[in-house]
């Protein structure tokens, strides 16, 4: 489909078009891949390669992304199947909603940690409490055990670690913590994830609403045709 054609469809029939999109695999797969990319980036690149340790909220954010990835994969199995799609929506909406909350909390902690205004947040918990009390930090400590301090995500290089010149350059670049653009302290990790979660959540809610509206409309048209044919018979 051409882009101009797509824009034309959205203009003429926005609800129907969005409803059609969520009946196709592409967006579900896109969300799952994006979510997995974020977690793998955080774990394999920032945590393992660049020695930036995850804090309590950070591991909660990971579980939120995993929930979205799972939801995306389930829905993508067969998006036209309402059962798969409902499971997909539930996981993805739950994940992105929790993700927004975790990110807002992390941002508050980050603010308090880097300023003199330390009221309004609580300290760092020595052990995480995951949703539904899942012992994820015991099952997979490398992915889910918080080893960092809340509000601080700068690299901590162990004594004796041999850094490649690239590692050295990047860890120096992030030496004051993770920012989208470290030299200016522009957008911390929490602010970036809250935008990611927020945009996806907004999209999911809109898509789900369009799907429901389309279903209701289809029912109504079906009922009207049925009653119309009934009348026809009587006459």
């Amino acid at each position: 489909m051409k882009l101009s054609e797509m824009i034309g469809n959205v203009r003429s029939n926005p609800i129907g078009t969005i409803s059609q999109w969520q009946d196709k695999r592409f967006l579900w797969i896109f969300m799952a891949v994006l979510s997995l990319f974020m977690v793998i980036l955080a774990h394999s690149v920032f945590q393992i390669w660049l020695y930036m340790r995850p804090c309590e909220q950070c591991v909660y954010i990971r579980i939120a992304f995993f929930a979205m990835a799972f939801g995306g994969i389930v829905a993508a199995l067969k998006p036209s199947n309402p059962g798969f799609k409902i499971v997909g929506y539930l996981f993805a909406i739950w994940g992105s909603f929790k993700g927004v909350l975790y990110s807002i909390k992390l941002n508050k902690i980050h603010h308090a940690a880097h300023s003199d205004d330390l009221f309004g947040v609580q300290g760092c918990s020595p052990e995480p409490t995951f949703p539904f009390h899942l012992p994820l930090d015991k099952w997979s400590p490398e992915w889910f055990k918080p080893t960092g301090d809340c509000g601080y995500d700068n690299p901590i290089i162990p004594d004796g670690a041999q850094l490649s010149s690239l590692q050295k350059a990047i860890t120096d670049f992030y030496s004051e913590g993770w920012y989208l653009w470290p030299p200016a302290h522009f957008m911390n990790m929490a602010q970036c994830t809250v935008i990611t979660f927020g945009v996806i959540l907004l999209f999911l809610v809109v898509a789900a609403a369009c799907w429901i509206v389309t279903l209701v409309r289809k029912r109504q048209t079906a009922a009207q045709t049925a009653s119309a044919s009934c009348h026809g018979k009587l006459a």
Partner: protein, 220 residues
Amino acid sequence: MFTFAKTVLKSFALVALLAGTSFAFTEGTDYVKLAKPIANAQGTLIKVFSYDCPFCYKYDKKITPNLVPKLPRDLKFRPFHLKTKGKYGVQGSELFAVLLLKDQKAGLSDRDLYTEKSLLKKAKMAYYTAYHDKKERWDAGPDAYLKTGLDAVGMTKAEFDKAKNDPQVKALLKEWDQSYDVAKIQGVPGFVVNGKYLIMTKNITSIDGMLQLINELKTK
């Protein structure tokens, strides 16, 4: 309609009146009752902390030194170090327990623990600055960790090894083990009044507000 408006107005007035009195704090938001109270802690304010905790450092820089001197006279301030947080939590607890008892033997009262005379304070601040400001992680091992604190107070390793076997130190450490159940609830720092009421750190908005809450919980 008029009577309805009147009722609403009256209830607002009542709420305003109640809010003005000392009943402004609520269980669950401002404090929680501990399921497992700390033993023998009537008449105390306990602070559970860890060297490996940025907010403990922040509180010990800005809040606690100003709070402790203003505490009600009949409330004793007691620091509890949490050994389960941080790579060297156990060593930290041992050293802090030794130094706290040394401070007490030197005649320091609980109100003096934030003065320059306190060895506990010296060692604690040395760890805070090393860990949080200089990002020291003591990868060389526990001896390297202990050196930071011992150097700050001018104690030798031999003196410390002898002091840590003192039965009083052991008893204090055993008391401090109760910190874990407190820290589990909302993390550290954690402030507990009479061993029963844990203040929700998140809802503290000022030192004066914190004092008011402590005063209220003390009589409970």
